[in-house]
Symmetry: D2
Subunit: 228 residues, 4 copies
Amino acid sequence: MSEKIKEPIIIVNYKTYTESTGKNALELAKKAEKVHAETRAYVGVAPQLAELAAVAKSVNIPVFAQHIDPIKPGGYTGHVLAESVKEAGAVGTLINHSERQLKLSDIEQIVKIARDHHMLSVVCANNPSVSAAVAALEPDMIAIEPPELIGTGVPVSKAQPEIITGTIKLVREVNKKVVILCGAGISHGEDVSAALKLGTQGVLVASGIVKAKDPYAIMREFAEASKK
Amino acid sequence: MSEKIKEPIIIVNYKTYTESTGKNALELAKKAEKVHAETRAYVGVAPQLAELAAVAKSVNIPVFAQHIDPIKPGGYTGHVLAESVKEAGAVGTLINHSERQLKLSDIEQIVKIARDHHMLSVVCANNPSVSAAVAALEPDMIAIEPPELIGTGVPVSKAQPEIITGTIKLVREVNKKVVILCGAGISHGEDVSAALKLGTQGVLVASGIVKAKDPYAIMREFAEASKK
Amino acid sequence: MSEKIKEPIIIVNYKTYTESTGKNALELAKKAEKVHAETRAYVGVAPQLAELAAVAKSVNIPVFAQHIDPIKPGGYTGHVLAESVKEAGAVGTLINHSERQLKLSDIEQIVKIARDHHMLSVVCANNPSVSAAVAALEPDMIAIEPPELIGTGVPVSKAQPEIITGTIKLVREVNKKVVILCGAGISHGEDVSAALKLGTQGVLVASGIVKAKDPYAIMREFAEASKK
Amino acid sequence: MSEKIKEPIIIVNYKTYTESTGKNALELAKKAEKVHAETRAYVGVAPQLAELAAVAKSVNIPVFAQHIDPIKPGGYTGHVLAESVKEAGAVGTLINHSERQLKLSDIEQIVKIARDHHMLSVVCANNPSVSAAVAALEPDMIAIEPPELIGTGVPVSKAQPEIITGTIKLVREVNKKVVILCGAGISHGEDVSAALKLGTQGVLVASGIVKAKDPYAIMREFAEASKK
């Protein structure tokens, strides 16, 4: 990660919601691009694979895959090849989201594959101890998301600040550089501010944006959040 | 499946080969389209997801996903939603390929999801007994592929004809309608003819086409194969 | 299965409940043995693996494993070998329980391994269509258990009799011989009677027995259930 | 781990070999016990679950499970409950062997469950980076085993000493206390000596003992290995 990325970092995980599928994928990305253009905040989107190329071609913000597999080109029917998503325009990938958990050795291999292809690796972790383990694998970013808060609208940065601070402490003992995001329940600008104050550099967010009545407004609110 | 599909049915599984990734995906599809235009044989292609939309938009032949997940729209990061691949242009999907094997109850659910979305379901099976089990789930097509022959160039239709005939016998006891394809090691027109003579209606093929020096020539050879 | 087995067949799945772990495993088996001795009903138990040998050595009723893996002797750390559980005294095994679901090709292989070792195969299925698929694999028994009713105390035989009758119809089209059990929510003798009237030959039961105040009394009630 | 454990630590992973199944399980444990009695080296055995109780009851050396699941008592058919293997006599468990790899969050949870039940956790890792990640989870022991050397008779301590030293370096940055074992290809006393010299405290070994003509002689050789 370049040191110059303007905080907060906001990565919108499209998951497989209706609101972010098909044509909706592109519309949402256009709104994210607008927020980035207006605020210079780092706003990335992680659409489904079938919409990834169209999104990447149409907007000038970072596009992530939601998952890639620990494979090289070859006979891997139904798997996700780094080369393929990169050529489609992805600059990085989520890894080990709580809805797509992976074996430890696969996480390690995917982080390495991402590095070899100059793709950003954003590894999700469900608690401080797992975050520390992930930190040892030297990904570009860690996103800490307590699964019990995902989709609840209860922000981890407020409900369980000790998870965030505990994570940061453990992670920094192992890895000084990795960017730390938090997620789960983030739906207001103040949740993002709270997350930044606790020491994270941004958020990984899904339903809080994708299922919002006005995703543009919420992303704008997020982008303007600060530590103050 | 319409009764009027002109045999042989040829479905080209792109897997995650370099030769079928990125721009290569579209080039190969164009060749498949040419073969279809010249011979009227049913030639479908199953690219990776990140290339699926571009391929489907550019050619007038059936495009398949290599896999979809047993999910409805919702929080399923990193999974493959039927609605998404359908909107991208897929008319069907491979299911349970030997390189992407699934739990039985998931196969059942995916076949149902495909049916609900008017997508063709092509379920792979590794032996006659498994094929019979699959037949009970009433997919549109079964592709029988002994894993030990995949990628070998040794055609199942010649090396183990009894697997094909045994499969057809068991499948027909359970299901009269399902289309039966065979795969693994198919690389010459005569392998396709052999498969048709044994009672299949076509082939699922990967490296035999994708990694061929002249994929067009081989597809053309396949398309002209007959029971004679 | 011998034709002479006295119905109802009752198989008690111990799962990993406290009430059936350690010394409790043997106590429960002794009660099951008593019920068998008094009623001649077929009462089998499926304890955890670490208690299986002690249970099998101490009682004279059929003992089942809860799972075996599709492996032969070799390098499979942490897996369950048929030879091992058989030598420990198991006469059969559950396969594909909804809490331990398996890939289709693995189910097929395990059924074959069980047959090769003269062990009874009891394959679980979650709906009629999956049951039909399982029937094609020719196991000794199928246990149909709608997962949404497991552990509820709402008996499938009463809440969803059409699932049972639908299953029996589909299964018999594919397989005339397989013994059909039902499970999920069975907790009274009348639930067993209802299951028998619908055409099953017995039940696979867990919490209804294991967590009962008086497991002996409930097993006895089950054993005396009849089609009348 | 008590500080007083006499090195080398030798843990014999029985896997699912014929030579360590059924009655053979106990015979092999008796030999291990003899070696321990004669040399005071730490010799543990990890039999299959169905033989675990009988082995633990008959010998006075540490007995390990080969795997436990991240579960509490409840409805987990076919899974391995810590309480059950502990009551059967296990003092610890292998976790994440390369033949039974686990999701990262499951490893974390199992290590915690083992700790809560005062059981030793021995987590396997396939390379230095994965070992460092495991170290962050604070298990009692890490066993580094390059999968490509498992079962080859080519000792990791000689073929790839840099893997061992690299692992130790990375692990110690994260965790000062964890005991480090190595495995894969260990079949002679000198392989154990080499492993100790590189800074490990012992070995996790399988076929080198289990499939040896004279397992007692080899274990004895191992037990007498030293850094000299």
